[in-house]
Symmetry: C2
């Protein structure tokens, strides 16, 4: 099959182009994107494309970039299509954002393309990624053992399309020479200290000695890995309530299949703590989860993954526990910023108490006149004591926290409601024996605990 | 971590050995299995292993094999353990069964080990597969694009355990020299025309220039690919009813996710037709399934995959349609071997007819005395005509088959019940207008169609 047929077959196999598309071509002046531009213009009418334009991102990395930018402008004038260009300093951006040059380049390019899509009314970006690119990408990730990278890229991802996915680099060069297509040669392509070049120049030729149709075989591998991953992506979304919480509930997690468990842990760490866990660490964590005791596991500088009771959470050196103390008057409320909680106090009728007795987030006490002076809401202090409801002797608050299986990290957040140095309520957990409501009680005071929903939860 | 620690860690991480195991060691006299034997004997008491024995399979492929067999016998005498040996001609076996030497060797070895397990009371086989073996296997399958092979082998598969999974080949050699462990060198290991050797000698060193801990990275990749595949294996088993049938029901199949669809097709072809479909073919089939029309797809010599209406099936050149014809008397039955079906005829009471009217597998007609002479049950012939119930004119049977969406391959199997050259019933599909039951009917005759269950369905 010749190059043009492969180009059209990919468009048809993956529904890359629909009638009336406005297509922006990611144009680098290299041979790949020059051939892509040529092909798209050649088949523009056949494919019913409405408009074609090029976008050139000048990342100021090579001396020739400015010359190339000029070339893009002249070429587009000649071809009577729009050209969008942008110049940015890749080195500074990469340094500032602690990214590799490759990542930084990708970020900036896609940002630039997305801007044009939104502002200029284009609906798709065509990139010149081809079959040899796919093979290189897959080899690079394979030798790093990355299951996620290994699947390579897809012919269609969102509004990005890759119509050269069936075409090899050799075919692209050959086509360019046959059709006298002008392009710039990227001299950095020869530099074998760049990993990707080493893969292209040394490793792939060796692999092709064993399997001459390596690229096609890897394309198939990529297709099936992508199908599997799409399946898992959809499945894992069903467990949003699990991974959207700072504390990962092991009672629910450990009922699931390992294939779901490791994906939830990965997603949970990334979404809640911006931690990218490595496969090696993930594998260790899976092994630890089989153990029925508490443990901690160092993830990266300053972050420790902890299992306590039925919860998994991150303890960070940066999370410094803060002491807090607020005053709360009857019929008023207090917002505890440190714990994202609100406690309200209300003087209520006696008649309500029956249904309130066991509510976790609301408790009531007999109201006495001295309470007008208000209550203290604070977190724990060393030496705190507590008399649980139904008992007469005091216990160490610390022991009660242990009995309640409250993880250490949480303990500093739990609000305590005090009246005259006595802890009335461990908010959300249990009430004390003080000021019980009696038949003779005239007024009662109730405390209610509410969570403050934050926008990103 | 030194080699011994890695050995014990693998045993603990994957629960490879339980107290009182009777362990058979797959012993080849090479460095890997010699070190394995050494380690297992060294830690036999520590691990509470009850008995250790070696099994040596002499595949008569090298001149030195007989010398090795003798060595095994002497060594086991010295170590006071049992040795099981077996000699078989690998070349003839591979040729006869059309297998590669590697496959043939694996088959024969595992058959030999399984026999010993059953006969001699051993419960596990320990093999000397190590981390470098895993990496080689994965590279070999990766460059062939095989997702299934890519995942490599597991530390534990059924009753096979691989306690050297954390250890590299270099570490094994070093340990063997340090501990003065005797072993035979396999001279075929140097032959670079053998793929695996080329991978070991040329490709892996190059990959390690980029990632020095390649083997560990690939171990992680293998672990996660295996976790995913176990998940899919279990999931796909839920669709047994689909893939256990010669005809794959597309109405049910196409509701599923692509990740399940391709696995069901793969399993269906293998289990029903012993066809191993390639990833390339599978990818084409997935694309064809998106088309809403009938198609056929050549799989391999003599086998065509066909989509007709809502069914997928295999048409084989070897499947020759056979004409059949049987005589059926009232109150008797006929077994149609060609279609695995039984038709029974019974003279019944009028009162039953209401509920039978629409039953697919049972129809009734007015009984007249001439029917004593019996019916013909046969498959279709060219030119057959049929008068459907509720109509008065005849139609070509062929057109009715098309209307009923019966796949071509099935049409030759469908039994027709005839009386005096008239088709009364297209068994299992529809009845004719002849001999309808009337208020005045005195006796009725009913035909019932049953499938014969075969043992492997």
């Amino acid at each position: 099959m010749n190059l043009e047929k492969k180009f059209l077959k990919a468009i048809s196999d993956f529904n890359l182009i629909s009638p009336d598309d406005n297509l922006l071509i990611a144009f680098s002046t290299g041979v790949d994107s020059s051939v892509l531009l040529h092909l798209i213009l050649k088949f523009k009418n056949y494919l019913n494309i409405r408009e074609v334009a090029v976008a050139y991102f000048n990342h100021s990395i090579r001396k020739q970039s400015d010359e190339e930018e000029l070339f893009v402008k002249e070429l587009s004038k000649k071809l009577e299509i729009k050209a969008f260009t942008k110049k940015e300093d890749l080195f500074s951006y990469a340094k500032k954002n602690k990214l590799s040059l490759e990542e930084a380049g990708r970020n900036l390019r896609y940002k630039f393309f997305t801007e044009i899509l939104h502002k200029e009314g284009f609906n798709k970006v065509a990139t010149a990624h081809h079959l040899s690119d796919l093979a290189e990408t897959m080899v690079l990730w394979f030798l790093q053992g990355s299951k996620n990278g290994l699947k390579g890229f897809k012919p269609k991802e969102g509004n990005i399309i890759r119509p050269m996915i069936y075409i090899t680099k050799d075919e692209i060069y050959e086509y360019a020479y046959e059709n006298k297509i002008r392009f710039f040669e990227d001299i950095t392509n020869e530099d074998e200290t760049i990993l990707r070049n080493k893969v292209r120049k040394s490793i792939i030729p060796l692999l092709k000695e064993i399997n001459p149709s390596l690229e096609n075989s890897l394309f198939n591998l990529s297709s099936f890995l992508n199908i599997d991953e799409v399946f898992f992506d959809n499945l894992v979304k069903e467990y949003k309530s699990l991974y959207k919480s700072k504390f990962l509930n092991l009672n629910e997690l450990l009922h699931l299949d390992k294939a779901i468990i490791y994906r939830i842990i990965d997603k949970w760490l990334l979404e809640n703590y911006s931690i990218k866990i490595s496969y090696k660490q993930l594998f260790e964590v899976l092994k630890l989860l089989e153990k029925n005791k508490n443990w901690q596991f160092k993830l990266q500088k300053g972050f420790i993954l902890k299992k306590e009771y039925d919860l998994l959470y991150i303890e960070s050196n940066y999370d410094k526990s803060v002491s807090y103390e607020y005053k709360l008057y009857p019929n008023d409320e207090v917002h505890i910023k440190e714990a994202n909680l609100i406690i309200t106090s209300t003087i209520e009728n006696f008649s309500n108490i029956d249904k309130l007795k066991y509510a976790k987030n609301k408790v009531c006490f007999e109201y006495i006149s001295q309470m007008e002076e208000g209550f203290i809401v604070r977190n724990r202090r060393n030496g705190d004591k507590f008399v649980p409801f139904g008992r007469s002797s005091e216990k160490k608050l610390k022991d009660i926290f242990i009995d309640l299986k409250i993880p250490k990290l949480e303990r500093d957040k739990v609000p305590l409601v005090l009246f005259q140095d006595k802890i009335l309520w461990i908010a959300g957990f249990c009430r004390s024996a003080f000021y019980p409501i009696k038949e003779s009680s005239k007024k009662i005071i109730c405390f209610t605990l509410k969570e403050v929903k934050s926008a990103n939860n």
